[in-house]
Symmetry: C2
Subunit: 742 residues, 2 copies
């Protein structure tokens, strides 16, 4: 059980594995919609100079229930359900693992077809990804890292606007989670020595399969490679129908195939490198962690952490102590993690270096109620349950209280965090119509006892996992305890004291010290760690004057003789019991949420497709306010300077744009970088009482306000203490038409 | 010139090299004061379980001018001056480089003796480092990373209190620099491909010398190793006087010795591994960057960035564009950097993973005035000029305006940032009496044209460099231009248009295209890059029907024949000139400043040495407020709950301590984690109007305030909008004695 859980943690955290399904599925959508797909190259994708073909994807969830659409979807839904039922039956019949896996792969493929169709059918406004990417690059929200050196795939630099957005995003996150919930935030090392990641399972299992050109050494991610090859074969006019069907069948089942099965496919189709035509190696497991050496000796192997969570787990003892030994409590960490993806793509969605914001909530495994659950229970959520997924149904809206009550969501703590995650995502600007929580299906966490839901955002890449929310039980703490011998447990007060029988191998320290010298400490520890049964064996041996083989923590074995220990039995009254806490883990992929924010807030002005902007909420907007002189008239200068100083004194980030160009053109520029409010100093500003216009980005409405009131008004607007509607009501409307096209 | 500058950048940034001198000198102090020194082990130092011997260091700068002390220091001062004068003379005589180096090494050694004596003579309160470290570890400000796995030297995790302090520190930094100065903040990749760091000089020169045990492979940092060995020899009673003198002489000169000279010392004293007695290798250059592979092929070599600055330089073009092509502007970055130190020590001062906050201010090399210099010119600074250092004088207080006017500080921009750095450091809690700005001496930047000042904080490790402030000229931009061919320059409008003669090798594209095919682009670029003289040579060759060897950007050479180009001459009117901007770089070592903050704010209550606390300013204190019920009385509970909610609504970080223990004991606990304000709910709180006591940490004074006013008062205190004195005057004093010892 733990091994599987292990695999899940090692491969799925923040969506490395499950995200893929969606990306694959998207790939298909993209292809249907004539998006260029570059599977092979290591060259830049997102933001590369190559022109993007227009991607027009259609989605709008509200219309999901359109009866005409449902008619088209009905056969696909029942095809999913049919297969879902088969999987359930196989499982309940205890069918061989292999058969279940095959059936699950087919189920996933059918789900994919359904979701694909669903997305393609829903009428909605079009979205132009190339246009958005152009904006993001042109206004330096982000760009490929080391672009002047040709760039590195899967690495991005955030420019001034992206960095400010990210920093505002993280500060809202900190105040929403860490401050509000009084979490213990930590800041741990990125460089991690091997034993830590060995224990967590990453050294052994955090890998993808790849295949190499035997001559050039060029690498291809195996599943992507096979899929691309088979698709090419399928599309070839010379391919006959039966071969085409075989290709399609393999593509559908790829996800569930083992290394051997994949190798067989490569050899069955005699696949060569698509670049050189050279032969390929056998499939190789490639560990996705970046390896390095710590210190000069080359003896300490280390990795860049693949997730921030382990830093919290290894500090559990100190954190519990800091919390005065009391459960529950949550620790949080914001920081970078690294994954050496074989062939990163999809822009910010799949990168080699990324920021995570993770929470580990430690609680009593037998009491997962949450004291603040009451406060969120009426939160309406868009839940896509495992059951609905197997039945070919759509996601449903439901109050989280109801979901926990009916057992759909396993416990209050998990439900509480799901609701809080949703509140947070909406606050920073995620479109509620493009957000759902998808439950992991049984087959995604087979023997895994607990529950897991991913917050997914709908983008032009499809539904992408942005925040994971999992009940990870006691797995990680148990693993680190095993590896270090340091018991990562908490004490829980018993309802009433309990008397227990104790049997103990009491050491004769003098004899042990002489016999084992420096090792004596390790022997004492090992003796203390013996359980009842082991002590019985020990007692049996020494009573017969035989030696007992005691295994030390480092795996070495030593002989215990009769004179070294005596067996003691007594009773003890216990007031506390020791428990290994369960962990509920909300884990945010910051780059993925940011990417979704870009897509969800990208807009075009009605009637002017060229005038694009980002309607980010003020809380996360890179800058809160622009300050514009109407023209280059020098009389404006002192007003601009004074206003900028006043705004700085109020901690309001702003940008002065005194360049030439009409006021409309300059507004358009500030709209592009999502500045929500704009102040213009015009000729009326020179008269007393000095006033200026204040403009709101989305509505383009303007009011006229006294200069000395402005900083407070903008501050309150930025902090959402007042709404624009209130401002518009209070102050006189400024009617002059802004020259949008100028 | 560039090569030396190069070396300076590569080895000194943020004090890797210059910091060392102070650490070494400290080492000496420490030894004098009987501090245990562990040069050899790779095991934990700071925070290790081994008990620290008490370090009582004495310093207080105010008393520097005590005439008795000056009497003792006089001979040391004149010994420094004598040597300083010799260095000056050698330089002005143009003596051989080798002689200058020797003299400089001796000068440094004499400076060291002087500073050592100075620090040891000044009477002051004692500081107990072990006690402070105990506090920091016990209350989980920080701890060694992966402590349950035995820990890794040179890596630290920040616990909840350290993390909150760091995050507050960075947010003050952001608002003080980025917001106030409207800097362009970026967030760039940590993983850096080799060519970038090759260009910056780090691949070739960012190295320390080490020596290895030939059998075990154990590594020792060469300078530390030799010093420790020679000191041991010196202390040996069997050592005769002449040998002892020789050892001392070498120790003094170590800093200036070459690899060969050091190797000769190792062999002259027949040094062996101090651990095994085994032979040692020859000295080896060990590059301090962590290496890794990007991508699965093993073909893209990368490093973890050793500084954040390069991320800004490679993005210069986009940043300039973002700033509408105008100079000056500053970019900033906060992020982690990594150095694989051979044997890290001195706690947070020398670590393998650290956070930097760097600013790169780009300006016209011919106009380094700063528009806001007026606003800081009266800032009094504690300046330790290169000249004073050579003359054996102390640091002096001077207004920065004066320092720039007299040319002591090279230009206004540099001076402006020095003043701002000081303002910032004082704001976050650095003791002004323990802060100085030390100028790099001529020998520290020999052929380096510009100026460099380090903000140094006095700690029990001596003066440590916390912030570097350097005028780095055009070095980095020039290097990246050379490496990529992308011209990192700015355009400057000419006062009046200039007519220039242009000579151009005009390409015949048809012929070139046929001849060079894919390479034609590179050939065109190389032709365009030819200067006047080269074109003259080219013209000479082709006029004689000879081939011209054209060197392409990648180093390859091709033949240009007569039919490929024609030489054109014409006149052009220029309105702008191209300049490579100069860079002024303030670079903050966040961990070093934080460590200094800990030392400068560590206090003991008068008359109770056990009661220690941290008097950090509210702006950076991990938490702003504590909330304490006087006792476990359940009537207090609703008040505590309501107050906590109100504080959260005001974004005030706080901690409720409802544990048992007297109120005095709980106050002491909150003092330890630097909480500046404490609210206690007592029996009077139950009466209407509901009130509570508010206590200030440093004075331990208390007032009584209405509950509904409290959040605003605490918020204003935290933001320094009001002072405690004002609060104490406005509200009635609460007189009840707090039971400190309870």
């Amino acid at each position: 059980m733990q091994i599987f859980l292990h695999t899940v943690r090692a491969t799925c955290k923040s969506g490395a594995r499950y995200g893929i399904k969606y990306l694959r599925f998207l790939d298909q959508i993209s292809r249907n919609l004539a998006v260029s797909s570059r599977l092979y190259s290591e060259t830049p994708q997102w933001g590369s100079k190559k022109k993007h073909r227009k991607v027009k994807l259609h989605f709008q969830l509200q219309s999901m229930a359109d009866p005409k659409i449902e008619e088209v979807l009905a056969p696909l839904r029942s095809s999913v359900k049919e297969q879902g039922d088969l999987v359930r039956k196989l499982k309940s019949d205890g069918a061989p693992d292999f058969d279940v896996k095959k059936a699950v792969a087919e189920l996933k493929a059918r789900k994919k077809l359904l979701e694909d169709k669903e997305l393609s059918l829903i009428p909605s406004a079009s979205f132009d990804r190339a246009k958005m990417e152009d904006l993001l690059k042109r206004r330096f929200f982000l760009d490929q890292s080391f672009a002047i050196y040709g760039g590195i795939t899967g690495q991005y630099d955030f420019g001034p606007m992206g960095c400010a957005l990210k920093s505002n995003f993280l500060s809202v996150w900190r105040s929403f989670f860490v401050l509000e919930e009084q979490m213990l935030e930590v800041d741990c090392s990125i460089l991690t020595p091997e034993p830590v990641l060995k224990a967590s399972g990453h050294v052994d299992r955090f890998a993808d399969l790849m295949i190499k050109d035997v001559k050039t050494g060029e690498c291809f991610r195996l599943d992507h490679f096979i899929k691309a090859h088979l698709e090419k074969v399928s599309l070839d006019k010379k391919t006959d129908e039966s071969l085409r069907a075989e290709c399609q069948d393999i593509i559908i089942k790829l996800d569930g195939m083992s290394k051997q099965e994949l190798a067989a496919v490569v050899s069955r189709f005699n696949m060569k490198s698509p670049i050189t035509g050279n032969d390929l190696t056998e499939p190789i497991e490639f560990n996705l962690m970046f390896a390095t050496q710590i210190g000069p000796s080359g003896l300490i192997k280390g990795f860049l952490r693949p997730e921030t969570a382990q830093g919290i787990f290894v500090n559990f003892k100190r954190l519990l102590e800091f919390n005065s030994g009391k459960l529950p409590f949550a620790a949080a960490q914001i920081g970078n993690a690294f994954r050496n993806e074989i062939s990163p793509r999809s822009g910010l969605i799949r990168v080699r270096e990324f920021t995570m914001a993770e929470i580990e909530h430690f609680c009593d495994p037998n009491d997962k109620n949450h004291p603040k659950f009451e406060s969120v229970k009426h939160t309406k959520m868009h839940l896509y349950s495992a059951c609905s997924q197997m039945d070919g149904k759509s996601a449903e809206y439901m109050e989280i209280g109801e979901a926990v009550k009916t057992g759909l969501v396993d416990n209050e703590t998990l439900g509480y965090f799901m609701a809080r995650i949703q509140q947070f995502l909406l606050k920073v600007g995620i479109d509620p119509a493009k957000l759902r929580f998808r439950q992991h299906m049984g087959n995604e966490m087979a023997h895994y006892a607990c529950d897991c839901w991913d917050a997914e955002c709908l983008t032009s890449y499809g539904w992408i996992e942005c925040v994971g929310c999992a009940d990870r039980s006691a797995y990680d703490l148990t693993q680190h305890t095993k590896a270090t011998g340091v018991r990562l447990i908490a004490e829980k007060k018993l309802a009433e004291p309990k008397v227990v029988d104790v049997v103990e191998a009491f050491p004769n320290k003098g004899v042990l010290g002489k016999a084992f010298k420096k090792e004596a400490k390790a022997v004492l520890d090992a003796l203390a760690a013996l359980n009842k049964n082991e002590i019985a064996v020990l007692e049996g041996k020494i009573s017969k004057n035989e030696d007992y083989d005691l295994v030390l923590h480092d795996g070495a074995s030593i002989k215990i003789t009769k004179d070294m220990v005596s067996i003691k039995r007594y009773q003890k009254t216990l007031h506390v019991e020791e428990i290994t806490p369960s962990v509920v883990e909300p884990s945010f992929g910051v780059g993925r949420v940011m990417y979704s924010l870009f897509e969800h807030n990208f807009r075009m002005r009605e009637g002017d497709e060229q005038r694009t902007y980002l309607s980010l909420p003020p809380a996360v907007s890179p800058l809160k306010c622009s300050v514009l002189p109407l023209s280059g008239n020098t009389e404006f200068t002192p007003f601009i300077k004074k206003l900028s100083q006043d705004l700085t004194a109020f901690d309001i980030s702003h940008r002065v744009d005194d360049s030439s160009g009409s006021i409309g053109r300059r507004y358009a520029r500030t709209d592009e970088i999502a500045i929500p409010f704009g102040i213009t100093i015009d000729f009326d500003s020179l008269k007393t009482p000095h006033t200026a216009t204040l403009r709101e980005r989305d509505s383009m409405d303007q009011v006229r306000i006294n200069l000395d009131e402005l900083p407070t008004v903008v501050k309150d607007l930025s902090l959402c203490k007042i709404t624009w509607a209130e401002v518009a009501q209070k102050y006189p409307k400024f009617e002059q038409q802004e020259n949008a096209k100028a």
